[in-house]
């Protein structure tokens, strides 16, 4: 168990800097999810922690010790890869035991650790099988077993569920959650899937183009996004954005419609603003709040909910409504939004305008 500290960590490949100075602390026992779009540098950051890549600048500390020059095997970490990376010619048992054999643990010790991991992961009946004789979910469990038996200070996961089908992904997500509750090992989990991030994380780092844009508990990030990017990335379907123009004490968002700008923001608001509203905050048939007349173009019925794809003066808006109250396509309806559910962003910098910041 250990705290992981990234102190000004930077990474360049040749001349391109793919990780801009990162400052972050992952507390002992914490489950941190690094989430961001593909190519933003998540894997690179994780691999720097693992020691598979060297940081161009900055310091990585695990359990208070600088590990920049330490080999992966001596960092006391274990990694789970997207494509499992199991040794194809070894049995499940062999895969889990291999690292322990190299570390010269006694045979009894290895046996005991593997059996324990197999029990936690319900791999008991498969110990003598080869990876190719297992399903994707089972393989990923073996990969996790290989990590568990090392009893490391930290688990590093790189998109471990991406190769699984949707149903299995949900199931494995729950298993990882359960595993973390049982073992309480510091974990860093990389994913591009914001649902995984929301459900798994104690805290998540939303990363964009090599920079951590926001770190915080999932619901905190969801309710209080720091930037346009975070607001758009976290939440599904994502937040609606209306381009707006500052106008006295409000913002003109198209069609002559003006939404009031909270007093606290008035001093700092620039001319060009983006107004954000989450789909679930567009209320159908509400009486309070700002009215939006929207024409429903298409409907995605999800069962419990329906997503209404509408158009507001050329800007697409998605509203999430009760699946049973869904109107027909083509109708023009009034939706209301409470002013406290509006988010204001500086269009130029992408920063959220927040009172007192």
């Amino acid at each position: 168990m250990a705290e992981i500290v990234l102190d000004g960590v930077t990474k360049s490949f040749g001349k391109t800097e793919v990780i801009h100075p990162v400052q972050a602390t992952i507390a002992d026992g914490e489950f941190v999810v690094i989430v961001g779009p593909s190519g933003c540098g998540k894997s690179t950051l994780l691999r720097i922690i693992a020691g598979l890549e060297t940081a161009t600048a900055g310091e990585i500390r695990i359990a208070g010790k600088r590990v920049n020059e330490v080999e992966p095997k001596d960092r006391n970490i274990a990694m789970v890869f997207q494509n499992y990376a199991l040794y194809p010619h070894m049995t499940v048992y062999g895969n889990m035991a291999y690292g322990l054999k190299i570390r010269k643990l006694s045979r009894a010790d290895i046996e005991q650790r593997v059996q324990r991991a197999a029990k936690i992961l319900e791999l008991g009946p498969y110990l003598q099988r080869k990876p190719r004789e297992l399903s994707g979910g089972q393989r990923q469990r073996v990969a996790m077993g290989r990590a568990i038996v090392r009893e490391p200070a930290a688990f590093l996961f790189d998109e471990p569920l991406s190769n699984l089908d949707a149903k299995l992904r949900v199931q494995m997500r729950l298993e990882i959650q359960k595993l973390h509750r049982e073992l309480r090992t510091t974990s860093v989990y990389v994913t591009h899937d914001q649902v995984e991030a929301m459900t798994l994380a104690d805290r998540m780092f939303v990363i964009n183009a090599g920079t951590i844009e926001q770190a915080g508990a999932p619901i905190e990030v969801y309710d209080d996004p720091a930037t346009l990017f975070v607001a758009g990335f976290i939440g599904s379907p994502s937040m609606n954005f209306l381009p707006g123009r500052r106008e006295a004490d409000g913002v003109e968002v198209g069609g002559g419609m003006k939404v009031p700008l909270p007093e606290a923001l008035r001093a700092s608001a620039p001319q060009s603003l983006t107004v954000g509203v989450r789909p679930e905050h567009l209320e159908l048939g509400g009486t309070e709040g700002l009215p939006f007349r929207l024409n429903v173009e298409t409907i995605e019925a999800l069962g419990a909910d329906s997503l209404l794809h509408t158009n507001f003066h050329g800007t697409p808006l998605v509203a999430r409504v009760d699946g049973h109250a869904a109107p027909a396509a083509g109708e023009t309806l009034t939706f209301t939004v409470l002013p406290r559910h509006l988010y204001f962003f500086d269009t130029a910098s992408g920063k959220r305008l927040r009172a007192g910041r």
């Binding site: 693992a50 274990a78 890869f81 010619h89 690292g99 290989r146």
Partner: protein, 290 residues
Amino acid sequence: MKDATTALMVENRPIADFIAHAILILGVIVVAFPLWVTFVASTRTFDEIVNVPMALTPGTHLIDNYRQALTAGSERGSSAPVGTMLMNSAIVAFCIAVGKIAISIISAFAIVYFRFPLRKFFFWMIFLTLMLPVEVRIIPTFEVAADLKLLDSYQGLILPLIASATATFLFRQFFLTIPDELVEAARIDGAGPMRFFFDVVIPLSRTHVAALFVILFIYGWNQYLWPLLITQKESMYTVVIGIKRMIAAGDASNEWNIIMATAMLALLPPALVVILMQKWFVKGLVDSEK
């Protein structure tokens, strides 16, 4: 007409089947007939063979001919016993195959997994030697072998043939298909490069090694020009050279029955290797793992 064609396409096309089988059978005959003639000749006496036309059924001297070939050799031309030659061939072919595989798998491992200065350069050097088979560099190689006193020795027969750009290339291509994550998983597990080589790379290369062994064993067994140059003592002849040396004088003076028996004997070990290793191939294919 159209109907007929469709019918031909849909039904089990007896005419097409017949033609296909006829061609296949003809092919088998073309390939197998010389073998049969060789076999028949190896079971008859010299007089029976030179008697035109030669009979195409096995004769009665099978055991005599083979015993003479194995223990005493031909009375005319070379007289080294074929038993010794077979042993020489087996040693040479085996060492060439094993040596080539060992050297090329290690070179490929170095080229794929290590960053060292001039790595590209060395790779292209190896690649270039593909264009320089033994036959091209035979005179200088002979010079060197002679200077090193390797004439009439196993080392002389084996060493000049032991490097293999082809095999190196093959292993390189295979290693490139091993996912990087596997290397990284091994690094995290604490396996150093050599450990990774022995515990992961070699087991994964098993089927490639088996396939190459067959090919290279036969390559070594069939070597002709180089053994011809480097061996003078009969005790160092390989069986391919032995056959050549037995055919010393004109047609009539060669002991064709013994030569044919030798040829049959020379055929057996490569055939045996193919048959035995074929099991491995199939196992490898069924096991196919990556």
